[in-house]
């Protein structure tokens, strides 16, 4: 009994304290070092912050270069898949175009009227300068959905700025470095934004699922949310401007949950718009 305990202690000691050939530090030393790193990092210790910023600038660029071959494969895979779906896509697009043409006639009038009314209630927001940013890396763990873009504080990017893919909302800036920033996607588990579901005007919160979709959190008029309903930002809490299209409800699943299919495909992002909305002071 005594011998087996001794053996265990010897094996553990050898594993954690012994330096191997060409090893400068023991395992225990490095483990202690990473714990110190972790603790000081969480306490926002200045020196650690500088180290973090340095590492981030190097890693984001290297990650972009190293992801090159995989991105090439990915692009080709998608290209081939798109070719196979071409006929189907064209047919769907034809139908959609016909319906959009008729809607477009009304659109301009409604936009002008909406602007006028928003000015009356002092809720008219205009875009700040838009920064077009290239997606450096869309790598995330299975648990985190975020992208890295090649614009940072040097390009006047600030925390909380809105990130859009065309007219659709993608996420918001959660980390700003000198030459790069991290964008938390709407699909991330930690993303929660106030939305409005139309028709029926249901106010709720859209949460990410960690997958490709989002989910509408339970609210009072939950049952009023129908399939194909469109989700817009509600503008509540001044996080985002009201009325940015986000996605639509897809109820083709067995669960009771209201699953949201985003309009933008987050795995296909190449360039995004980073902007913020400010109140229009001019009359």
């Amino acid at each position: 009994m005594e011998t087996s305990r001794d053996d265990f202690v010897i094996a553990i000691r050898s594993a954690f304290l012994k330096k191997g050939t060409q090893q400068r530090f023991s395992l225990l030393g490095l483990i202690s070092f990473s714990i110190i790193f972790l603790i000081l990092g969480s306490l926002n210790f200045k020196a650690i912050d500088y180290v973090k910023i340095g590492i981030k600038e190097i890693v984001y660029r290297s990650s972009f270069i190293i992801s090159g071959p995989e991105n090439f494969l990915k692009d080709n895979y998608i290209l081939v898949q798109n070719h196979f779906n071409l006929y189907k896509t064209v047919e769907i697009n034809k139908l959609e175009l016909a319906s959009l043409r008729s809607k477009d006639l009304l659109n301009e009038f409604i936009i002008a009227e909406n602007k006028r009314l928003k000015k009356v209630v002092d809720d008219y927001l205009v875009k700040s300068d838009t920064v077009i940013a290239k997606v450096l890396s869309d790598k995330g763990s299975p648990f985190l959905r975020s992208i890295i873009v090649n614009k940072g504080s040097k390009h006047k990017i600030k925390l909380g700025m809105v990130v859009m893919d065309g007219a659709y909302l993608v996420g918001k800036v959660v980390e700003v470095n000198y030459l790069s920033s991290r964008v938390l996607l709407l699909s991330d588990l930690n993303s929660k934004i106030p939305v409005i579901v139309e028709p029926n005007e249901v106010f709720s919160i859209l949460s990410g699922t960690g997958e490709k979709n989002g989910v509408i959190q339970y609210s009072e008029k939950y049952e009023d949310i129908k399939s194909e309903s469109v989700i817009y930002t509600s503008g509540t809490g001044n996080l985002f401007k009201a009325g940015i299209p986000v996605g639509k409800i897809n109820n083709n699943n067995l669960s009771e949950e209201k699953i949201v299919e985003f309009f933008s495909d987050f795995s296909q992002l190449r360039f995004v718009k980073v902007l913020s909305f400010i109140k229009n002071e001019a009359e």
Binding site: D7, I10, A11, I12, S14, A15, F16, G20, T21, Q22, Q23, R24, F25, S26, L27, L30, I31, F33, S34, I35, I36, F37, L38, G41, S42, I48, V51, K52, I55, K56, V59, Y60, S62, S63, I66, S67, E70, K74, Y77, I78, S137, D138, K139, G140, S141, P142, F143, L144, S146, E175, R182, L189, N190, G210, E211, S267
Partner: protein
């Protein structure tokens, strides 16, 4: 003389391939998202670190593993130092197994690997969820652990093949 020198250079490059692979895997983070597979994810770095710490500890230095962990945290956006900690615990477990093993067998290695990644992921979950307030999904973790475990069989054999027939080392097994 020149031929001997060339051979040495090639051998050096070949022996540093695990290290290169480690850095590529942390910087690239193979996710295969574009395949649209919902229930698929695995952690290649865990497999690589465990295998080489167990079979050929001189290939990956602890310091490099520590740095790779820092890089991984930056790419994933997790608190800096957490991946290094997990990688080093994995190294410690592999070193312990190496010390107590008299007759190596793949099955035993795999079971030990499974136990280690279960502990590591639980620790990761506790730290991220309770201390840093990250919301994580149990199911994603289980999927990740399962595939990482299953892929250990495949990659272990691939690395064995690489070490024995391409690098030509004798102590890989």
């Amino acid at each position: 003389m020149t031929e001997l020198k060339n051979k040495n250079i090639i051998k050096k490059i070949l022996s540093s391939i695990p290290l290169i692979l480690l850095f590529i895997s942390v910087l690239n983070n193979y996710d295969f998202n574009y395949l649209g597979l919902k229930y698929f994810s695995f952690n290649f770095s865990y497999i690589l670190i465990f295998y080489y710490s167990l079979k050929k500890s001189e290939s990956l230095g602890y310091t490099y593993i520590f740095v790779a962990g820092l890089f991984n945290d930056v790419v994933l956006g997790t608190p800096i130092g957490i991946s290094s900690l997990m990688y080093l615990i994995l190294c410690g477990a592999a070193a312990y197994l190496r010390n107590i093993t008299l007759r190596p067998s793949l099955i035993k290695d795999c079971i030990f690997f499974l136990l280690t990644i279960l502990i590591i992921n639980s620790l990761l979950f506790i730290i991220l969820n309770l201390i840093f307030d990250y919301e994580l999904d149990y199911f994603d973790q289980i999927i990740n652990i399962t595939y990482t475990f299953l892929f250990y069989f495949l990659f272990s054999n691939l690395f064995d093949f690489f070490e024995r027939y391409i690098v030509g080392s004798k102590n890989a097994r």
